[in-house]
């Protein structure tokens, strides 16, 4: 009997050990499976970088040849368009399967399925924002476009061919860590990825904060602090451009928002506006300003940086098309890039395409809502969130004809900027031509093709810069913009008033655009698109003046420009805000009242050239000085609930320079009245105190790159799979807008001569495998501001010194 007890105990222990090693515990992977050298993480090694000589993708008609360059970028040559997209799907999945599937899950609210109950709140938000509805509308919108449907089917077929070829040992590392298996890729997933980008770039608003501020300060003062035309702006479309079209009729303003009180939020405000955020630069210089006489186009989209790299670089060639650049993993085609005739790049437009309407429901059942003189029925969309290790969560989302009502009542897990009880009207929910636009853009041979492609480019709105080999440069502030009265939609709108509804669109041939302007270049940096002469209202909450004005200043003064000059300009680190305001701030600092250390730091700032070098300490001191001054100006107003949104840094600089007696410089929480000079003095002392407490006595730790390194984390924030902090000569309002976890996600320079030459760098690499040497091999060049010449082949068989291998892909069943 004793032996049996002993045996049973050992067997029980063995069973428990097996369960423990077979199961994921929180974020600890199932260690038995994971550490197994035959199927676990060890298989995700650099051997995967080896290039196959042959591959088989079922469904190919003519066969495909892939030439690989020394950065592991595939140059795909196919005999027909559908083979090309099928091969692109396969090769993208081969390098980025987990990334694209994770993004689709995130957008579609399906993370809890793999992560468990902790992800339910995230999923709930995505479902309530109508992301799956938007993706369905997207597919509905291309129902009659046979070509697009075939392209999508081919791309998805390629992805699935790769998924089908995988054994568990070949799953990307993250699947093994999180312990799940890849699923099938469908056009719905493609649509979700496109919705992800649309939401990321156009999906937030300050309508609620601004409405609360208006209730507190009144409309005049709100408009003064949050002006429709921000100060110092040098707009995307050169001022003085004439608008040679009869504008469509815009609605007559019937007030600028919902009557009655706006719903209150918790603290009422989000982050300061000068914190790192998305943004981008692009410009195109005509041949009259370049040394070679050929146009040069440059672009660097700024996004939250992650590993695997946000973009997947590829060259795609088929009869009638030869395009290269970066694609969005999970979607067909190239988003930013060039072909054998033209080049293009995008920056976020920032125009307002999302409005909130305060709804009035008939009763607590919310089956009807007031609309005009009557009532309209609501509908409900049932959402079921599957939860790993838990019960499914059912969500019922209310819809009006305007769009979803994400939250009918305030709840703790909803973002503060979304008003409870409001319906959302967002162009991203509508059927979209974005994929059609990209397919056309990839084949654009000149300006006419560019404009034709842009006619379908609706959401997210972008400033698209373009240059062609025949010598043209152009830019369009492009998107599907609602026709609105001036300022309409920046406050919460009345959801009972049919007059507040969007009543048509700015015609696509009347969006702000410039072609071959006299100054010899076009550019954008998320700033205001136009001056006050443009006949339509598009939005107000654009990026500050700093990057746009700096780019225009440098390009305006430049002559005989070379691609090397352009690559240098992309990493320009002069802070125009500092150059604009710092001299005045230093004048206001009474030197005699400063301590010796304060005087020394002030003297250093006085001799500073406003350049944010990673090894300099002046940027760190100025940055903190401005943050303290900004907080001293506005924080008391926010605490006292007079303000509910942070005014722009540009407006703050404007007040300092032009309205030094403004009451906002007074700290309303003290009995005395402070002047601008008082709070400048206080802010300077506090900034040094803050830096001492954070980084110790003045020294190397105060250097900009050390004090404010850029982090490139893993997409799912898995420790160890990101990159170490990077010391970069950049900052959020500089052309080299690398700051916090944001920065240029791709830098590209293209010279459009008889032979197209291009240069680029990714803050990451081609591979999504953390065990590959191509996972993050671009980061060093990116940090140092170097670009490498991109390989661009004319034919599949062309030899090139930087090609390292070829793969022949055949079809078969």
């Amino acid at each position: 009997m004793k032996r049996w007890w002993k045996a049973l105990s050992a067997l029980l222990l063995l069973g428990a050990a097996f369960w423990a090693l077979e199961t994921r515990h929180g974020m600890v992977p199932p260690l038995g499976k994971f550490l197994d050298p035959f199927t676990g993480f060890w298989r995700n090694n650099a051997a995967g970088d080896a290039l196959p000589r042959t591959l088989r993708i079922p469904g190919l008609r003519d066969g495909v040849t892939v030439a690989w360059d020394d950065r592991h970028v595939p140059h795909i040559f196919a005999g027909n368009e559908l083979d090309l997209y099928r091969a692109q799907g396969y090769l993208t999945a081969r390098d980025r399967l987990w990334q694209m599937e994770f993004l689709s899950r995130y957008t579609g609210g399906r993370l809890a399925e793999i992560l468990g109950p902790g992800a339910v709140a995230m999923d709930r938000l995505q479902r309530r924002l109508g992301m799956t509805w938007g993706a369905e509308n997207f597919l509905q919108g291309i129902r009659d476009d046979a070509r697009l449907r075939r392209i999508l089917a081919a791309y998805c077929g390629g992805v699935n061919a790769y998924v089908d070829s995988l054994q568990p040992s070949g799953y990307p590392l993250e699947y093994k860590i999180l312990d799940y298996a890849p699923g099938r890729w469908t056009p719905f997933d493609v649509a979700l990825i496109l919705k992800y980008m649309s939401w990321y770039l156009s999906g937030e608003g300050r309508d609620l904060e601004l409405t609360q501020t208006r209730q507190s300060l009144g409309e005049v003062e709100t408009d003064r602090l949050f002006p429709l035309q921000a100060p110092f702006q040098d707009p995307v479309i050169p001022p003085g451009t004439s608008w040679d079209f009869p504008p469509a009729e815009t609605p007559i303003s019937r007030g600028r928002g919902a009557p009655g009180a706006a719903p209150r939020t918790g603290s009422g405000t989000r982050g300061r506006p000068f914190a790192a955020r998305i943004g981008s630069n692009n410009w195109a210089v005509s041949g009259s300003k370049t040394k070679s006489g050929f146009p040069i186009l440059c672009g660097d989209p700024h996004l939250q940086l992650t590993l695997p790299a946000i973009w997947y670089e590829a060259q795609l060639a088929a009869p009638g098309m030869n395009v290269a650049g970066v694609s969005l993993p999970g979607t067909p085609g190239v988003v930013i890039g060039f072909n054998d005739r033209s080049a293009w790049s995008m920056t976020n437009a920032g125009s307002d395409v999302l409005d909130f309407y305060m709804m009035k429901f008939k009763d607590g059942a919310r089956r009807e809502y007031a609309w005009g003189e009557g009532w309209r029925p609501t509908s409900r969309r049932r959402e079921k969130i599957e939860v790993r290790g838990g019960e499914p969560v059912a969500e019922s989302v209310l819809y009006t004809h305007l769009g979803p009502v994400p939250f009918v009542e305030r709840r703790p897990d909803m973002p503060e900027w979304i008003p409870a009880g409001a319906a959302m009207r967002w162009t991203g929910h509508d059927p979209s031509g974005i994929l059609r636009a990209l397919v056309l853009l990839n084949r654009a041979r000149g300006l006419d093709d560019f404009h034709a492609a842009m006619g379908s480019f609706d959401c997210p709105p972008q400033n698209v810069a373009f240059a062609s080999r025949d010598g043209h440069v152009a830019i369009r502030h492009n998107g599907r913009f609602p026709l609105r009265s001036r300022g309409q939609g920046r406050f919460l709108l009345d959801g009972c008033d049919p007059a507040a509804e969007w009543r048509g669109w700015v015609p696509m041939d009347q969006v702000p655009a410039a072609e071959d302007p006299e100054r010899g270049f076009v550019s954008s940096a998320n700033q205001a698109p136009v001056d006050a002469s443009y006949p339509y209202y598009l939005g107000w909450d654009y990026a500050g003046f700093e990057r746009g004005r700096r780019i225009n200043e440098l390009l305006g003064a430049a002559a005989a420009i070379t691609p090397e000059d352009m690559a240098r300009l992309q990493v320009d680190a002069l802070n125009l805000r500092a150059r604009t305001v710092l001299p005045r701030l230093l004048e206001l600092l009474p030197r005699e009242a400063l301590s010796p250390e304060e005087r020394k730091r002030a003297e250093e700032l006085g001799g500073w050239d406003f350049v944010y070098r990673a090894g300099s300490t002046e940027p760190t001191v100025f940055h903190r000085f401005f943050v303290e001054l900004y907080d001293a100006t506005w924080e008391d107003e926010l605490e006292m609930k007079r303000l509910f949104s942070w005014p722009g840094a540009d407006r703050t600089v404007d007040l300092i320079l032009k309205e030094p007696g403004a009451s906002y410089f007074d700290d309303v929480t003290t009995p005395t009245r402070e002047s601008l000079a008082d709070i400048v003095r206080r802010a300077f002392s506090r900034s040094l105190e803050h830096l001492r407490s954070r980084f110790g006595p003045f020294g190397p730790r105060w250097r900009w790159g050390t004090a404010h390194p850029v982090s490139i984390r893993h997409l799912a924030r898995i420790p160890g799979l990101g990159s170490p902090p990077q010391a970069v000569s950049g900052g959020s309002e500089l052309i080299n807008a690398a700051s916090g976890s944001f920065g240029p996600s791709w830098r590209m320079v293209v010279e459009l001569g008889p032979v197209i030459r291009a240069w680029g760098v990714l803050p990451g690499g081609a591979s999504g495998n953390p065990g590959s040497r191509f996972y993050d091999d671009g980061i060093r060049d990116w940090r140092e501001g170097r670009v490498r010449e991109l390989v661009f082949l004319e034919t599949a068989g062309q030899s090139h010194p930087r090609l390292v291998g070829r793969t022949v892909i055949g079809g078969g069943r």
Partner: protein
Amino acid sequence: MIVLAQAFMIVLLQWGLQSWVWVMGVPLAFGLAARVSGLRAAGRGAAAGGLAWLGSALYLYLTSGRLVAGRVAAMLGLPLRSGWIMVVVSGILAALAAGLAAYAGAGLRAALAGTEKSRS
């Protein structure tokens, strides 16, 4: 010799059947079959499992696995972030799992043998 045979079988079955369970399954079977004490079986199993995984992990580490091993060590928060530690951790885990399986197998064999003895 038995240790090497076990290790070889573990490698063969894991390679062919793409499942980690054989690092426990093979020692369990050897424990059931071999007429040795539980502790001795556990020692042999542990040596075999440890050898199979440590050897394989070491090979992969030296040929192509340095990067991924270093990242996984960082992910697991191990004090030494060199990928070397993952070779050792893999080997130790396999040794523990295989040793426990062999011990359980030997224990079961002993119980079965005791029952037969009492019947006879």
